[in-house]
Symmetry: C2
Subunit: 323 residues, 2 copies
């Protein structure tokens, strides 16, 4: 297959699937690639609002070329017909595809295992091939299915000593332009952004995406507070309440220290992104308030360091919660 | 020259010079390599207590092979005869060396420029070749000459949110074994270690080098306090007093937050080594107390990020003060 492994194709499908983020809601942001004789003959990803599905888009693109080809898809094709269209399994069966490589089983009980079984029953070779890239690209959907809440990213922008402001509250600016632009990209990848009530009152942050061409991708704005929300904001008082976040798949928490602590104390942070500027503040405002940690032992073993990078003179370190 | 540039040889000489650290006091830890027809014929570094000098050791090793060869030396050869032996310049002249490549001029007024001039007057080709590696290997000596105090490294070992302990003071352990072993290596490279009075009272740290074969390299122990020093410790009350640190070249400050702030507020930190464990504490003890910073603008532009590494699951970031 032109030197590419099944894993390579699944990784490519995952990258394609990420294009659907964050607009595939309520559906997962799936990616699909159809390969015939080493050549790509169809590509698809979940469209805005969840339809068409990735497989339907890729099959429509491939047309007759799908016959005898292989489909690489990040998530098990759905088995349930909806009023919005036929199931992907039935489309795949009708297409004449010879083989389907699946990066991740679908946890949705209407599809789980059934999607792959129905393909096999139709004589199609099905190869479940667990792919980290595929799972990573579906983090929002999988977190919803497993934990009943959105995937939560906590952003911290601090000095080297972990402060987010001087003692008097001054916080403009700690990190540099490149970091702040990176934050705007991350905002564009979330369906909603949340800040604490104190941060909203103190900073009146706009929390929009101020990058050329991405202005329309500014997400919903949520505030953690018992008070009524201001115009243009949604208020949430208890993040652990059932369905507190509706069908959100990706939530981006921007602080302050209280909101960060609330999410960490509830063990509701999946990804930690720490931007650090090469400055020392000393005696400033700490980035995370009390989380009720009883012993140091209890703090260990929870976070994996997954990447580090340089943004101008700042660094960015990303950690993921081990579960 | 076997494909090696002058800079390569100076870097090799710098690495050799570092072997003299921290026992060359009161002399600089110089490194010297003699190369003839692309082959090394002599190597030397400042010996314990400062004598023999690097050049004398390398010349003794080279013997007659020095004739017509090139000497790579991190620091300008000394021009002043002392009661402890002849000047290196006179030894170089007597050796028959054809060329001397110097990584850094000597700021000592008894030698500054005079060393190189006397070699030239004797018909030797002298090439001053500013070398970052050479300067870096002489940081303690150069800091003494320029600022009248030792080169100061501040170590911080923190959680991701910049804490050095829980609110109740528990601090064992934040960083892992690999980081703690690395700290012991850094201790062995310092002449003295300093902690704050509070840390000494709270933790009774041993501050020795507990690495096989390096136990004898445990440095002097200093405590920042107005109180009398306990047995085996030296007390210092004012770090900015003239000659507060005698002829120390390398001081390693291990905390706590108050001592760190005292050195930072006095702009007496040259190197910042931050070990970070992948844990979140939240509401713990911050790593640096108030340093009197008035505005965020004043905090920027002071630190350069020079290296980052992985130590087990911890990270190590090193910053140097821009001067």
């Amino acid at each position: 297959m032109g030197g590419h492994s099944d894993h390579d194709w699944l990784s490519a499908a995952a990258a394609l699937g990420e294009r659907g983020r964050p607009f595939s809601r309520p559906n997962p942001a799936v990616g699909a690639i159809i390969v015939r004789d080493g050549r790509v003959v169809g590509r698809g990803f979940t469209q805005i609002g969840g339809r068409p599905h990735a497989e339907a888009m890729a099959l429509a693109q491939a047309g007759e070329a799908a016959r005898g080809a292989t489909l690489y898809v990040t998530l098990e094709p759905c088995a349930h017909q909806s009023e919005r269209g036929p199931s992907c399994s039935s489309l795949v069966i009708a297409s004449g595809l010879a083989r389907v490589v699946v990066g991740c089983p679908d946890p949705d009980p209407r599809t789980a295992g059934i999607g792959m079984e129905s393909l096999r029953a139709a004589g199609i070779q099905v190869d479940p091939t667990p792919s980290h890239a595929a799972q990573h690209s579906l983090a929002g959907y999988l977190t919803r299915a497993r934990l009943g809440r959105p995937h939560v990213t906590l952003k911290l922008a601090t000095s080297l000593d972990g402060c987010i402001a001087l003692a008097d509250g001054s916080s403009r600016w700690i990190t540099g332009e490149a970091s702040r632009a990176h934050v705007h990209v991350e905002r564009a990848r979330a369906e909603a952004i949340l800040v604490g009530g104190g941060t909203l009152r103190a900073d009146s942050p706009r929390l929009d995406v101020r990058l050329p061409g991405l202005e329309a991708r500014s997400p919903e704005r949520w505030v953690l507070t018992h008070a009524p929300a201001p115009e243009g904001w949604r208020a949430i008082a208890d993040i652990t309440a059932p369905d507190a976040f509706g069908d959100l798949q990706y939530l981006y928490v921007e602080g302050g220290a209280g909101a960060a602590a609330t999410f960490l104390a509830a063990d509701m942070v999946d990804r930690l992104m720490i931007y650090r500027a090469p400055i020392v503040i000393g005696g400033g405002k700490p980035c995370i308030a009390d989380i009720g940690l009883a012993t140091l032992d209890a703090a260990h073993g929870r976070w994996s360091h997954v990447s580090r990078g340089q943004l101008g003179s700042d660094t960015l370190d990303v950690y993921e919660r081990r579960r």
